[in-house]
């Protein structure tokens, strides 16, 4: 009885030191969806696709909250045509991945593309 009481007490003392550290992906999923919608509706994705420069995407990634790290890829016909990473951080594994299609118009041509955002907490 003495031994089992000691074991149980030790186990409880050990368990009480742990806090739930599971990463909740939903806030990041919501933020990622907002981020892509904002880039699409604000024309940033289209501007990047048409100009061929990723400066706008890098600047936009820099506006994410400090606790979030992420990277963007633009796809055309299933191939990555542009990539941008948030400066100063990198995700070992993406906690969330979001995609959003958009149309890039240049002169009289329209390209159907999609943006892929992969993000994690820093």
């Amino acid at each position: 009885m003495l031994v089992s009481a000691l074991i149980m007490t030790s186990a409880l003392a050990l368990v009480s030191k742990f806090e739930a550290q599971l990463e909740n992906a939903r806030p990041l999923e919501d933020l990622s969806a907002d981020f892509l919608a904002m880039l699409e509706k604000g024309g940033t994705l289209e501007d990047a696709a048409v100009s061929g420069g990723n400066g706008g995407l890098i600047a936009a990634l820099g506006e994410l909250p400090p606790s979030v790290c992420g990277h963007l890829q633009l796809y055309e016909n299933g191939t990555v045509v542009m990539q941008a990473n948030r400066t100063g951080c990198a995700c070992d594994t993406d906690l969330v991945v979001m995609r959003r299609t958009f149309v890039a118009r240049e002169d009289s041509t329209e390209k159907e593309m999609y943006a892929r955002f992969g993000g994690c907490y820093t």
Partner: protein
């Protein structure tokens, strides 16, 4: 026989067992307290995400709710956008003009789903450089054990903005 039953050894053993039981109960209380705290945090997280989702992704119901004072009977849901991700300036102005202690503020609690354990909230809308555009400031009375916040991104008049909502329980 009597002398053996009330021996010094028995008293010592009993005291030790009582001590162990007290230690066990204290540990149990600490573990249960931790579980309660985690559960409350999870509930608050869910509540603030649902409320923020309603605000930045839906137009509200009725879709012209901003034309009338917010009330539990007249406003079925609150939303600040006309198309997802693009805030409606009129709705934003109406939402942030409610007072932080007004009947309208109290009416928003059940509409936003914050009434389960009576959570209170404040909200701010700022440009991405950090300058505040609108704020609905209410601060916790005293120091609440937990606050939970959520950040969302949207466009207001074509400009990216950050919507932040903080929820706590008083």
């Amino acid at each position: 026989m009597k002398g053996q039953l009330f021996s010094y050894d028995l008293l010592l053993a009993s005291a030790f067992v009582i001590f162990l039981m007290a230690l066990f109960l204290l540990s149990l209380e600490s573990v249960l307290g931790g579980i309660d705290s985690t559960e409350l945090r999870g509930e608050m997280q869910e509540a603030v995400q649902t409320a923020a989702d309603s605000l930045v992704r839906t137009p509200g119901n009725p879709s012209n709710w901003e034309l009338q004072p917010i009330s539990e009977n007249g406003t079925r849901s609150l939303g600040l956008v006309n198309s997802p991700g693009e805030l409606d300036p009129a709705k934003v102005a109406a939402f942030f003009s409610i007072g932080n202690t007004s009947a309208e503020y109290n009416a928003t609690l059940p509409i936003l789903g914050l009434q389960r354990r009576i959570y209170y909230y404040n909200a701010t809308l700022e440009s991405l450089d950090g300058s505040a555009l609108y704020s609905l400031q209410r601060f916790p009375s005293g120091s609440p054990p937990q606050t939970v916040s959520v950040e969302r991104l949207a466009l207001l008049n074509g400009t990216p903005v950050r919507f932040t909502m903080v929820v706590w329980r008083e």
